[in-house]
Symmetry: C2
Subunit: 109 residues, 2 copies
DNA sequence: ACTTTTTACCTCGCCTGTCAATGTATATTA
DNA sequence: TAATATACATTGACAGGCGAGGTAAAAAGT
C-alpha cells in the first residue's frame, strides 16, 4: 500500500523540515530518505518536492546553496531558525490532528 | 487551535462514514457531532460536507432519504455494505498513514 | 567504446478537494 | 415580531499534488 497524495497534503512541508532538522540535504537525497524511512510507501513526486522547496524558501523556513566540487550539481537546503519553529509547530499540529482523527474515526459516541 | 482543511483533506469521507457507522443521520447533525467530538477543533464547512455527500453517494457508499413528519426538512444518509467496507479500508489507511508520518516526523535516522 | 541507468535539477498545466460567498426556507427563542 | 438556529444547496476561486515533459552529467553495465 502506498500513501495517496491527499492523505499527506498539508504535511509535505513538515516531512521536509523534519529531514532538514537532521542535516542539510538536497532534493534527490531527501526524497530517497523519505522513501527508505517509509518503506517505499511515501514518495514525494518531484514536482511536489520542488514546489514545496520554493514555498519553504519564500516563507523563510529554509535557505539553499549550491554544493561545490563533487557535489556541484546539487542544490543543498538548510533549515533556518524560523524553520525550526515552524517544524515544532507542525509537529504539534500533527499530534493534535492525530488525537482528533482518532476520536472521530473510532466510532463510539 | 483548529484543524486546517489541508490537514484532514482525504480523511473527510472517513469521518463522515464513521458517523454513519453509528446510525443514520443528516448533514447538520453530522457536522454538529463532529464539532462536539473534536471539541470545536474540526468543522467541516457546509460546501465541503455536501460535496462529500455527493461523492459518497455517487460511489455507492451511502444512500439518502428524506425524513418524514417533524424531520421532513432533513435528508438522512445511511451507510451501505460497500460503505462499511470502505470505512474499514479508510480506517486501516489512516492507521498506516499515522505510522509512517510518525516515523517521518520523529526526526532520528 | 557505447549504451543504459542513475543521479540531479526544473517547469507547465491539469485535477481535485476545500471553502467563502450566497441563496432559500422553516422552526425556535427572545 | 425580530432575531437566531436549524436545514438544505450551489458556484466559483484557490491551492497543493502530480503527470508529463525537459536538460544534463556521472556511473554502471556490456
Amino acid at each position: 500500500m502506498s500513501i495517496a497524495g491527499d492523505l499527506i497534503r498539508g504535511h509535505t512541508e513538515a516531512v521536509i523540515l523534519a529531514r532538514l532538522m537532521i542535516s542539510d540535504s538536497y532534493g534527490y537525497e531527501i526524497n530517497k530518505n523519505i522513501m527508505t524511512i517509509s518503506n517505499g510507501q511515501l514518495e514525494l513526486k518531484e514536482a511536489t518536492l520542488y514546489t514545496a522547496f520554493r514555498r519553504l524558501e519564500a516563507s523563510g523556513f529554509i535557505t539553499s546553496y549550491w554544493g561545490d566540487g563533487d557535489a556541484a550539481r546539487r542544490r543543498y537546503y538548510a533549515i533556518t531558525p524560523l524553520g525550526r519553529e515552524e517544524y515544532a509547530r507542525l509537529s504539534y499540529e500533527w499530534e493534535n490532528t492525530k488525537q482528533i482523527m482518532d476520536k472521530l474515526l473510532k466510532g463510539d459516541t
